[in-house]
Symmetry: C2
């Protein structure tokens, strides 16, 4: 099995190293990941400057290819010019921090998997909810491995995309798996306004306490309750209900 | 009517100026837009550095607020700390260049409208397919105005989002309006590999000829055939069909 592995925390991040180490016997793994952290870049792509690919070594060992671009760039470029064989699956992660709810839209980790799906490859985004209480990325990688093994056994259809989130618990305390939907409401994030030494205002985006969101069946609720969340995603954003509704509006007068 | 106007081409771009000028009598317009061009940033958000807001003047006239962030940042920050009254509608554009098909996912213009929808405001993204033959942004703005007027007359529900694309034609040659769905296949973009003077490779992302995509009912087909395309979008990416399918997989063994 050919596996393309990427992430948005950058090629030196502990999450991608732990996952690569844990799944190395599942197939031939090629790592193509951003040179530096790209968290929060969403589905950005680079066309205003050229991309570079470099071979990355760590402790005298070749670990993969670094790209001066976004996670989506990495997937595009990997398939265009790095991998010798087309991947059977593209895996993005493990991200340090969950990617649930509206944050799916901001996530470079998910965007890489979406890009792979658009290009016709099955893909899996894997994120790990870190907390002060529990930060063991190796434990999360061992859980991720079992999830990935099951998914590839079932031959995920081309272009399908699963968003996997692992709760912040030791593997033996995780309660199970839930197939979920995206929590699609606003997290009501705000800013913290501060004044700099020169007297001018600046604004920091503030996270929210996600644990207050308890809507059943959603990704965020699953990890809050100690379950692994698996959400199938699509990249066609068409709102079919609204499509039917606005078709009846009187559009004739717009163009004479 | 309170209108929040933003874009991804930056606050000095001709598209946002033309739209503001053309719709100024529809309500109270507040412009909050990126300081510099942000095309292709997708739904990126900024949390690794603080944001600043500055008052922007052009030819001694106050034109709006510039933010050192993404289009989505502009919407979040505008509603948090700039606008005095909550907007009745958020408009993003006019973007120079269409945002159809998969490019919807890469588009900062659309991301700003998505962010507004997530926050519970009706929103409209407006893009104009420019071509060598026809580049009149004023003409596109006059068409956009009529579309926007009709949409606000119908009181778009809170959280609804319409993606409007105007074809590269003079207003009197546009054939009409089509309510469309997103063209959800890969555009098969590739890279152009070049060698720099030092002998090293670099890669430019290459656009594709979108005119080859003729799938009926899609956004790209509508503008290719000379129609205004209006696509209702949603930001819940859950794939409900795949959800049902994978629920039946044997997930029990993952967690013991």
């Amino acid at each position: 099995m050919q596996i393309l592995l990427t992430n948005d925390d950058g090629i030196y991040a502990p999450g991608i190293a732990a996952l690569k180490h844990t799944i190395q016997d599942l197939g031939q793994i090629t790592v193509v990941a951003p040179d530096v952290e790209q968290s929060g870049v969403g589905h950005s792509i680079t066309f205003s400057h050229p991309l570079r690919i470099r071979e990355v070594h760590l402790h005298n060992e070749f670990i993969g290819y670094g790209v001066n671009g976004s996670p989506a760039d990495c997937v595009k470029l990997a398939i265009y010019d790095v991998v010798k064989h087309k991947p059977d699956v593209v895996i993005s992660g493990i991200n340090l921090g969950s990617n649930v709810g509206i944050h799916i839209l901001y996530s470079g980790t998910v965007a890489a998997a979406v890009e792979a799906a658009i290009m016709g490859y099955p893909s899996i985004a894997v994120s790990f909810e870190i907390s002060e209480q529990y930060t063991d990325i190796q434990g999360a990688a061992s859980v991720a491995r079992r999830v990935i093994e099951l998914i590839v056994t079932h031959r995920l259809p081309a272009g399908s995309l699963l968003n996997v989130n692992i709760p912040s618990l030791p593997p033996d305390q995780i309660k199970g798996i839930r197939i979920t939907r995206q929590f699609a409401h606003d997290f009501k994030e705000t800013f913290e306004k501060r004044i700099d030494p020169g007297g001018k205002a600046y604004y920091w985006l503030k996270g929210t306490n996600k644990s207050v969101h308890r809507e059943e069946g959603t990704d965020i609720n699953a990890i809050n309750e100690g379950y692994i969340s698996i959400t199938p995603l699509r990249y066609d954003l068409t709102d079919n209900n609204l499509h039917k509704k606005i078709e009846g509006w009187d559009w004739k007068g717009i163009v004479s």
